[in-house]
């Protein structure tokens, strides 16, 4: 099966080719931080291959270095990853007909970038279009994965020569801004975004980066309420 030659797969690869720079910068910064907190190069390499969850890796690293109990480490990763539970519901209607292992694989390679762009491209699931949706998703997710792992290798090989005060990690933050703005295109999404932002400011100092999941929940509820008001007004 030469799925990587199909137009939908190539479209997905193209969609990720610009964010790739940001993902690379992020991966390098994250992995320099992991190495800096005491993980050996080979351990860093395997951690990324096995776990592939940048924000969770960063959150648990101080706990691993500090010899915290296993359940604290796993619980922290679980909570930092909670937003993906909600994201998995967002892609479920698109991919529910695939086999168990295929679905696990699809979930595993999902990422903030891939999911946000996927939802912008395919807001509704169309069973007749399921294969195109899958190929597009795979194109994005595989580029994301490859770029991330390349960043891991760069961090391991050249990490000592990249000064942390260059601030290259900020490129990742800026890239996310370019993903957020086009998603705010009507009143409902504007209110949802503002509510999420206010929630984030109010909950920023909660442990386990709970602020992310709090903001997701209030942002989605705000969208539901806005839509309801709008429909009642009609």
């Amino acid at each position: 099966m030469q799925f990587f030659k199909t137009p939908a797969f190539i479209d997905g690869v193209k969609a990720m080719s610009e964010p790739a720079i940001a993902i690379m910068a992020w991966s390098i910064v994250t992995n320099i931080a992991l190495l800096g907190s005491g993980l050996k190069p080979l351990e860093t390499f395997w951690l990324n291959l096995l776990v592939y969850a940048g924000s969770a890796q960063l959150a648990v690293m101080p706990l691993i270095a500090g010899d915290y109990p296993l359940w604290t480490i796993w619980l922290t990763a679980l909570i930092v990853n909670l937003r993906f539970v909600i994201f998995s519901a967002g892609i479920q209607p698109h991919f529910k007909k695939y086999s168990f292992f295929e679905r696990m694989g699809i979930g595993y390679i999902n990422s903030d970038f891939a999911f946000a762009k996927f939802v912008q491209k395919f807001p509704y699931s169309d069973p007749a279009n399921s294969r195109v949706e899958l190929l597009y998703f795979l194109g994005m997710a595989l580029v994301n994965w490859t770029v991330w792992q390349t960043g891991v290798l760069i961090a391991i090989i050249f990490g000592a020569h990249i000064p942390s005060n260059w601030g290259i990690g900020f490129a990742g933050t800026v890239a996310l801004l370019a993903l957020i703005i086009p998603a705010i295109k009507n009143k409902t999404s504007l209110v949802s975004a503002l509510v999420a932002a206010i929630t984030c400011i109010l909950t920023i100092n909660l442990p386990y980066r709970l602020t992310i999941i709090c903001s997701v929940i209030t942002g989605v509820i705000a969208a539901i309420l806005m839509d309801k008001n709008y429909k009642e007004a009609k």
């Binding site: 592939y52 648990v60 937003r83 679905r103 903030d112 939802v119 800026v174 999420a196 903001s215 942002g219």
Partner: protein, 111 residues
């Protein structure tokens, strides 16, 4: 942390990642997300991205207490605002990254 202990930690993290990321996918077609809920999940990624970006732009982490404090005179906020304007003008990701990073780097020398 011993080697074995570290590997147990890694495999546990792997299991956690698998379960969280494929959570609602695991039920397959036996499980259906109500259309109305699904419709509003489209707003979830933007909300998550905002909660990832905002702490980097609007706040500074106090090294002593490890708490976030609002900081309105940071190169990060300046770079972020320029990046937003950059996106609205250029509509391109690379343009946004370039302008945002230039503003951020310049601000670090002057602030």
């Amino acid at each position: 942390m011993s080697d074995i202990h570290l590997w147990i930690t890694f495999f546990g993290l792997m299991a956690v990642t698998f379960v969280t990321r494929s959570f609602f996918l695991l039920g397959g077609s036996k499980f259906n997300i109500p259309e109305t809920i699904y419709e509003f999940l489209r707003y979830a990624p933007t909300a998550a991205l905002i909660a990832i970006v905002l702490p980097e732009i609007l706040f500074i982490k106090d090294p002593a207490s490890q708490l976030f404090e609002i900081d309105l005179y940071s190169p990060h906020l300046f770079g972020g605002v320029v990046a937003i304007i950059g996106y609205l003008v250029t509509k391109s990701l690379l343009g946004t990254i370039f302008l945002g990073m230039v503003a951020f780097t310049a601000a670090r020398y002057f602030i």
